[in-house]
């Protein structure tokens, strides 16, 4: 097993992070509001079983179910797994057990975590109770965890109307995933060349097209490209648009021009910003060259070269 990363390939941390905002159905809303109020609700199916956590539709019959009941904050472990190394976003910082818990009065089990000193203190069938979070928000994490308890099964569920003041109607759950991104061989060559202020594409051995930036394959022929070809630095604006929206975190005055630019020798236009010319004077066929900034790994923008405009026939296939 070769776990060591190869040294010649570019890599960079990549964080994908987004908060999901979700609205709740009436049963979910009652359940999560109930947790905020330290009350656990279940829902009765037509067969009379109580589902905890409750759902909007019967998982067997697909029937809409709305008949809420309150169950106990105590229950019995139906299965467990000891996690010696908690991961970043899991509920407890210290080693814990994952548990499925059948709360007293419920027919189904809830997934959560159990705070226990070690795996020897956990077994299927053990009695546990909810430890509530200090600052409840109306989320499954209002149950901070379960903890061992001695109390006997407290029996049946009691009807509940599911009504609370100021019900929770939605949840926002942040999600963050961390990656180490590597672009692959062809994009690595391209990015490394750019750092030396050269633009390198790759030629398809079959159709002879030069792709910039290269991704390692000719999308028309479905075969690997390998022959490196230096293109540019000059190129032709094949088409463009005038941007009037100010992008967040982008220090560029609007309006500005964003263009497709066919670098000399390339068979595919890449895109870039046009500067050094009033936005309303940019045109198709305009000849441009890259402008590099100190330390930049790619051109900051492209500016006119002052050459006569390219003839339409010279770039019409690249639009």
């Amino acid at each position: 097993m070769t776990a060591a990363p190869s040294p010649d390939v570019l890599r960079a941390p990549l964080v994908v992070e987004f908060p999901f905002t979700r609205s709740l159905g009436p049963v979910q809303s009652a359940f999560l509001t109930g947790l905020r109020e330290r009350t656990v609700l279940g829902v009765k199916t037509a067969g009379g079983g109580v589902l905890v956590p409750p759902v909007e539709y019967d998982p067997v019959t697909a029937e809409e179910i709305r008949d809420l009941v309150e169950v106990a904050p105590t229950g019995t472990v139906t299965t467990w797994a000891w996690n010696p190394a908690p991961r970043r976003d899991q509920p407890l910082r210290t080693p814990f057990a994952w548990v499925l818990v059948k709360l007293d009065g419920a027919a189904t089990a809830l997934l959560h975590v159990l705070d226990a000193p070690g795996p020897d203190a956990v077994r299927t069938g053990m009695r546990v109770r909810i430890r509530w979070a200090a600052e409840p928000t109306g989320a499954i994490t209002d149950i901070a965890c379960f903890e061992p308890c001695e109390r006997e099964d407290s029996g049946a569920a009691a009807p509940h109307d599911g009504r609370f003041a100021d019900p929770v109607t939605g949840i926002t759950t942040p999600a963050r995933l961390d990656y180490t991104y590597s672009p692959g061989r062809a994009p690595t060559d391209y990015i490394n060349a750019l750092a030396e202020r050269r633009t390198v594409g790759e030629r398809c051995p079959s159709c002879r097209k030069v792709y910039v930036p290269p991704r390692g394959a000719c999308p028309t022929c479905g075969i690997a490209t390998a022959e490196r070809v230096e293109v540019g630095p000059r190129g032709t604006v094949t088409t463009f648009c005038i941007v009037n929206l100010k992008a967040r975190n982008l220090d560029i005055e609007v309006p500005y021009v964003y263009a497709h630019i066919a670098l000399d020798g390339a068979d595919l236009a890449l895109h870039g910003r046009i500067g050094g010319i009033p936005y309303d004077q940019v045109r198709m066929g305009l000849r441009v060259e890259p402008v590099w900034t100190e330390g930049g790994r790619y051109p900051d923008h492209y500016r006119p070269t002052g050459e006569p405009d390219a003839d339409y026939d010279a770039y019409k296939e690249l639009i």
């Binding site: 070769t2 997934l111 299927t124 759950t173 995933l177 692959g184 061989r185 394959a217 479905g222």
Partner: protein, 358 residues
Amino acid sequence: MREIAIVAFAQTGHRRRTDELSEVEMLMPVLHDVLGQTGLKTSDIGFTCSGSSDYLAGRAFSFTMALDGVGAWPPISESHVEMDGAWALYEAWVKLLTGEADTALVYAYGKTSPGEIRDVLTRQLDPYYVAPLWPDSVSLAALQAQALIDAGDTDEPALAAVAARSRTAAAANPHAQLSGPVPAGDYLVQPLRTGDCPPVTDGAAAVILAAGDTARGLCARPAWIRGMDHRIEAHSLGVRDLTDSPSARQAAERAGAFEIPHGLKGMGGAPFVDTAELHAPFTSQEVVLRKALRLGDDVNVNPSGGALAANPVMAAGLIRIGEAAARIHRGASDRALAHATSGPCLQQNLVAVLEGES
């Protein structure tokens, strides 16, 4: 029903990481391999369907870039599922059954190394009650394993034996990532040890399907798909019996696994297959599947080593079907069951029954 067969299969040499390859660079050789086996060109293929997930490498719309490896110009008839490639194969099979195409290219890839697969897979869970707790894939499998142990269906030595048998078998599989003696290791999440868990894998696979005489012309011994079905269980783990897999059994029944093949005499009850390729990334899941599918000791289970030997997520299920088909192609099997799974604790299951002609 139209006769459809798998006529070619290829997979990468599976590895822990492939930083030097983009997804398309990793995938392209297996596409060329299956096309080369059949002599077909992209333009000869009636339908193309792929399976992958952008979450694995964190790369948005990676499946559109993977299409670069197909050569999708002039435009081809194409589809993609954000699932294991086994489900892409199912879609392609249905497409061929309708008569709209005579050949199909199916591929799948998973570049698992850039991310933390245990965390990534939490994002497929119920977003209201489960995903906010970030229960990782190993932890959920461990809950299932403990339930099996409590039920008396297995114990830790039996699980270790599943791991050892799989990785011993994998020694004969040149594509395997983990083979031969692999230590049982420490508990990753008790009761599962590192040896009970699949490796983290980058890899890809491709299959070509063809109908009727087209299939006979492309392959000396096509692997005929006699039936295929997939079924899903409730998403809430707490409403399921984790020691059983009624969805896998139902899919197998509907795929005809328990029917007596034409020309054979025998008793019903157990599936009439000599080989089963089961998509069980964790040792405990093989226990569940053997029980649910009523597989006897006479069935050769996972001669490839299974997902315990290489687990390119999103391709590992398709590879089970491909491995079963490849055994039929080379005469090592006459009737095989191939299985793929998706979701936590075998939530969703697909079963195909493959047959060779004598």
